[in-house]
């Protein structure tokens, strides 16, 4: 580490990712460098560690520190109805299209974070009257964030942006309908989440575990470098039925991946793709 700037060198990051791979069997070596470096810097500051070596030491000696480390490393920022126009397209085109040929719909939220995206999905389906036809799987690499998603309790002060998004989405009712306020928390109506199963899953090293009609992997791959994006896209592709839909974040793109031609762009603005080749 350079002394005057506290700047972390690439070699140190390599050492860290190699250590983590060997000790915990997680692979962070292909996370996008600029943000990975910032996250590690942040973790050093948070735990008052001086160097990356000290961080490695701590990971090596404190058994339960690794989970905490993963939580701090990953970026969990999310919102209900994030990108409201996407949710409108989903309601008006994508879901009706899937339901044309099916009586059921299976959905995977890959990188679900604290669950706001799942709740949005459940509300969309509920307002369409098909929530009971849905099977939703929600996964994330970070165990503690999944626990949060399961709880479905959010600070009231976070609800303002959710309300704004919902009204831009032009939902049927008011978001208020879907939660009760207890103290300083909004507690989500549990019946919305009955068909959701949650599990820890690593997109980088985890295996393909099922097939879906619709996969949402939004704002997750932006933390990966291009090599890894490419690799993960293969997994997502395998996890989709033919003619199933993949959604990525509004500022992401598939075009530079080697299997891009196995998808067509359904909506470029909202980054919705359809698998057309196995």
């Amino acid at each position: 580490m350079s002394l005057n700037t506290g700047e972390i060198e690439i070699a140190e990051l390599r050492k860290l990712t190699t250590f983590i791979q060997e000790k915990f069997d997680y692979s962070f070596k292909d996370y996008a460098m600029s943000s990975f470096r910032r996250r590690i810097r942040r973790i050093l500051d948070l735990y008052k560690l001086q160097t990356v070596d000290e961080l490695i030491q701590t990971l090596n000696t404190k058994e339960d520190f690794f989970q905490e480390f993963v939580s701090e490393l990953t970026v969990n920022v999310t919102e209900m109805f994030r990108d409201p126009t996407f949710w409108r397209v989903l309601r008006e085109h994508i879901i009706p299209n899937i339901m044309l040929n099916h009586n059921k719909i299976s959905i995977w939220h890959a990188g679900c974070s604290s669950g706001e995206e799942i709740i949005s999905m459940a509300i969309v389906l509920d307002e369409m009257g098909i929530l009971d036809k849905a099977k939703i799987v929600a996964t994330d690499i970070d165990r503690s964030i999944i626990a949060k998603a399961k709880e479905g309790r959010y600070p009231i002060k976070h609800m303002e942006v959710n309300h704004k998004n919902y009204s831009r989405y032009q939902g049927k009712y008011s978001l208020q309908k879907y939660y009760t306020e207890v103290g300083s928390e909004a507690i989500i109506d549990k019946s919305l989440l009955e068909n959701v199963s949650y599990r820890k899953h690593d997109l980088v090293q985890g295996s393909v575990f099922s097939k879906f009609d619709l996969v949402l992997c939004r704002n997750v791959m932006i933390y990966f470098n291009q090599t890894l994006q490419n690799q993960v896209l293969h997994r997502l592709h395998e996890s989709l039925f033919k003619y199933g839909y993949l959604v990525i974040g509004s500022k992401e793109s598939l075009i530079w991946c080697d299997i891009a031609h196995k998808f067509i762009v359904v909506n470029n603005e909202e980054k919705i793709y359809k698998k057309i080749k196995d």
């Binding site: 700047e7 690439i10 996008a32 943000s35 704004k164 932006i222 291009q226 509004s250 500022k251």
Partner: protein, 198 residues
């Protein structure tokens, strides 16, 4: 005004940060530099988080430059102006590409100037020019410090000229800034550089 040592063709990129009061200066700068300007320009301006459209168009009206909000991992091209999209931080990645991310707000902002500046300083080192314009908070000060530490060139908008001077002041308070320039002077510096690359 500008030292001879700073008039070279070694630079590889320009980063510009601005907040309240920076829109006019930005438009002036973008409308004065030629389409073929030899360096990529990374623009990080504080903007409304939910207004996804219109900013590029507004900036493009008077400019001949190609102005674009990049997608994540887009490759960097010379001469293009990259505008940080609403609600995303924009960082420069090693290997000539741009990363976007939704990390926490920094200085209450996303996009945050500090992130764009720091990441660019890391990648371009002494081959970076950082320009910090008018604004009402202190975003960009740490970024300017990092540019300076990496031996890049640091320029703030003239304090008197800045409509709101808190942002350039904050940088000036912690960094030994190379130049404090009026917008006209910033433009003429960039135009001189443009000549040097021919």
């Amino acid at each position: 005004m500008i030292k001879q040592t700073h008039l070279t063709d070694k630079y590889k990129a320009v980063v510009i940060g601005g907040s309240a009061g920076s829109f006019q200066p930005i438009v002036q700068i973008l409308s004065s530099i030629p389409r073929q300007f030899p360096l990529p320009i990374f623009l990080c301006l504080h903007r409304l988080k939910h207004v996804r459209h219109g900013f590029v168009e507004a900036l493009s009206i008077k400019s001949q430059k190609e102005i674009a909000e990049p997608l994540d991992k887009e490759s960097i091209k010379k001469g293009v102006v990259y505008l940080a999209p609403a609600n995303y931080h924009m960082a420069v990645e090693l290997g000539n590409s741009i990363s976007l991310n939704t990390e926490e707000l920094i200085n209450n902002s996303r996009p945050a100037i500090d992130i764009t500046f720091e990441s660019a300083a890391y990648v371009y080192r002494d081959k970076l020019i950082g320009v910090l314009l008018s604004g009402a908070n202190k975003d960009g000060a740490i970024g300017m410090q990092r540019i300076k530490q990496r031996k890049g060139l640091t320029i703030i908008q003239n304090i008197e000229e800045s409509m709101i001077n808190a942002m350039p002041m904050a940088a000036k308070n912690i960094v030994d800034i190379d130049y404090e320039l009026k917008v006209d002077e910033i433009i003429s510096f960039l135009l001189k550089l443009n000549e040097l690359y021919k």
